[in-house]
């Protein structure tokens, strides 16, 4: 089976670059492949498993309602891997449930951004004209605010709570996805296969749904993965400021906030959620990057 560049005159279509596609392999090639797509994917899967599935099937105690008699148990106490906090709640359980809350917010915000923002952006990019102008100006207004400031303002207005955090952060993700979807759509729209589809008699709606969307989806998904990391950190910041998920329900953000006061005495209460945050964000980033690399290598 011949490579796609076979049978083509160089320079007219393909850059006459010497290395055949795909995949960049150099001396670091092996290393890069290892870190490629499988490792981050595995990490992300593990994180989801731990935060969503394990608490249901495994021996994980409730994150709230601990007895004050058990308070401040050190790590490796039997039954409490990471010990307990000041009110007797199992730290490991708080980590897991806190992660669940953070991830729920991140997933929801990303989904809203992808669906609402993606649709608006793709539509705007495809139809152009005044409709494009109106939609983009509306999104521009939202994007003009620094994300965190806007999120804080909205959360302050609405009060703390998981749903409100999702609301506030969506104001940030919708225009972000919107811009990206529009830019990607503009690029795809210039391609001859769109013109060919129209010449074949395909209507606008079908062209948008069957040709444009599948071709912008990889880019959007890559962006979504990278965005997950950002949203998780933003949620952490909101919770840290007391505007996200309210205690006693744990979230990594409010855990860090609570641990801040006793940082020198018992650093683990800050270090553990921070480490969890770090690992999660890095995993999503790696996954997003490797998907982007794979996608652009084609």
């Amino acid at each position: 089976m011949a490579a796609p560049t076979e049978g083509l005159v160089p320079g007219v279509l393909e850059p006459a670059v010497v290395a055949p596609p795909p995949g960049e392999e150099g001396r670091l090639g092996r290393l890069r492949v290892l870190g490629g797509i499988w490792l981050p994917a595995l990490l992300v899967a593990a994180i989801f498993f731990l935060c969503f599935v394990w608490p249901i099937i495994g021996p994980v105690p409730s994150p709230t309602g601990g007895s004050i008699l058990n308070s401040n148990d050190p790590s490796f106490t039997p039954g409490h891997l990471f010990g307990t906090d000041a009110t007797g709640n199992d730290e490991w359980s708080r980590l897991l449930y806190g992660g669940r809350a953070s991830l729920e917010v991140a997933l929801a915000v990303t989904a809203v951004g992808l669906i609402v923002g993606g649709t608006l952006g793709a539509f705007a990019g495809y139809v152009g004209g005044w409709r494009d102008g109106v939609i983009m100006r509306a999104l521009d207004v939202l994007i003009a605010f620094p994300a965190l400031v806007l999120a804080v303002a909205i959360a302050e207005r609405l009060g703390p709570g998981e749903l409100h955090a999702i609301w506030a952060l969506s104001f940030f993700s919708v225009p972000a996805f919107g811009r990206l979807a529009r830019a990607a759509t503009l690029r795809v729209r210039e391609q001859n296969f769109i013109a060919a589809a129209r010449l074949s008699g395909t209507g606008h709606v079908r062209t948008l749904l069957r040709h444009v969307v599948p071709n912008i989806l990889p880019e959007l998904i890559t962006f979504a993965l990278l965005g997950m990391g950002i949203i998780i950190v933003l949620e952490g910041a909101l919770s840290f400021l007391g505007l996200g998920i309210p205690p006693p329900a744990p979230s990594w953000g409010n855990m860090i906030a609570q641990g801040e006061g006793i940082l020198s005495a018992q650093p683990k209460f800050v270090l553990l959620p921070s480490a969890a945050l770090f690992i999660t964000v890095v995993s999503f980033n790696l996954l997003g990057e490797s998907m982007r690399a794979r996608w652009t290598a084609r």
């Binding site: 089976m1 011949a2 490579a3 560049t5 076979e6 049978g7 083509l8 005159v9 160089p10 320079g11 007219v12 393909e14 850059p15 006459a16 010497v18 290395a19 055949p20 795909p22 995949g23 960049e24 392999e25 150099g26 001396r27 090639g29």
Partner: protein, 333 residues
């Protein structure tokens, strides 16, 4: 007979790609002489561009080069990057196919030419400026002084390519490699640029290697033609000789596939079936065997060597056109 300016001997270039090895150039040997034009003709995948970049050491890290490339006696394969840089652009220059991508869109063209001059010579700014204008006039760029301050996007494709040639000439190279330099240009511009290159060659005594897929171009402008297929040289001769009696069926196929003005409308072109070979999975035997109208079992088993079967005419084929089968086993080059 003077020593050749450039001599390739059994050049091989391999690429490591996701586990397997792709041999892009497989035992290429030729010579380029002063004031002569050699045309490297081949389609995509033939290895012509890879071999040219091997000369300039412009291949990515994934490439492994073996064999010999001697420039004026100096071995280029394995040469340190520092010494290569002294040669590159200075003694050996290259013009690429798409001037739009080779020129920096944010710099004025005068600046790009003077930059090239400064790299190879210690001159003052004023001297570099004058030399740049000289070069622009040499490549027949109209209104050279005015164009000096223009940006690439303000020039047409043909003019941009002239700028590329001016940059290439900035170091007074003895060897110029034109890699599909006119492919992206209009046919009238192409003719003008080719005439310019020939004219420059005569005046400056440069050796010129022109790489193309266009046999017609070779016929019109080259002294010697080397046809490549799947990384190998399959036929080589002086232009008149080659076109006078084509031996290798691939070359004959190339010639037959070119539309001629003399042909009546709706003439069927002599077309060979099949695709260019996948370099990653090369079976033994002649690479052209799957598509060759003259193929026999022998062709599929053993690859014919490139041999000088007639004076000044080399080819690699067991069943050349217009001849009895070659006795290539005896006379290997």
């Amino acid at each position: 007979m003077t020593a050749p300016l450039l001599e390739l001997d059994d050049l091989r270039v391999d690429f490591r790609q996701s586990g397997h090895v792709v041999r892009a150039v497989d035992g290429l040997s030729y010579q380029a002489d002063k004031a002569r034009t050699l045309a490297l003709i081949g389609e995509s995948g033939s290895g012509k561009t890879v071999s040219a970049r091997a000369i300039m050491a412009l291949l990515p890290d994934t490439a492994r080069v073996t064999g010999s490339i001697r420039y004026e006696g100096t071995e280029l394969v394995g040469l340190s990057e520092r010494r290569m840089r002294a040669l590159r652009g200075n003694q050996i220059a290259m013009v690429f196919q798409d001037p739009a991508r080779s020129l920096n869109p944010t710099l004025r063209i005068g600046a790009q030419i003077t930059e090239a001059i400064h790299i190879h010579r210690q001159v003052s700014k004023a001297e570099a400026h004058d030399r740049a204008v000289e070069l622009m006039e040499l490549v027949r760029l109209p209104a050279a002084r005015e164009r000096f301050r223009q940006y690439p996007h303000q020039l047409s494709g043909g003019m941009r390519q002239r700028v590329m040639i001016a940059i290439a000439l900035a170091g007074d190279p003895r060897l110029l490699i034109a890699d599909e330099a006119t492919t992206a240009l209009d046919v009238t511009t192409q003719a003008q640029i080719m005439e310019l290159l020939r004219d420059l060659q005569e005046r400056l005594g440069m050796a010129l290697i022109m790489i193309s897929h266009d046999l017609g171009l070779a016929a019109s402008y080259a002294d010697e033609v080397l046809v490549m297929y799947a990384g190998r040289a399959v036929e080589r001769a002086a232009t008149q000789t080659l076109f006078g009696h084509v031996r290798m069926p691939y070359t004959r196929a190339l010639l037959g596939a070119i539309p001629r003005l003399e042909n009546a409308p709706h003439t069927t072109l002599a077309a060979v079936p099949g695709q260019p070979p996948d370099l990653a999975t090369q079976p033994p035997g002649c690479p052209f065997a799957p598509r060759c109208p003259e193929v026999t079992d022998k062709c599929r088993e053993t690859a014919p060597p490139l041999a000088e079967q007639e004076p000044g005419h080399l080819w690699a084929c067991w069943h050349p056109c217009g001849l009895e089968d070659s006795a290539a086993e005896e006379v290997a080059v």
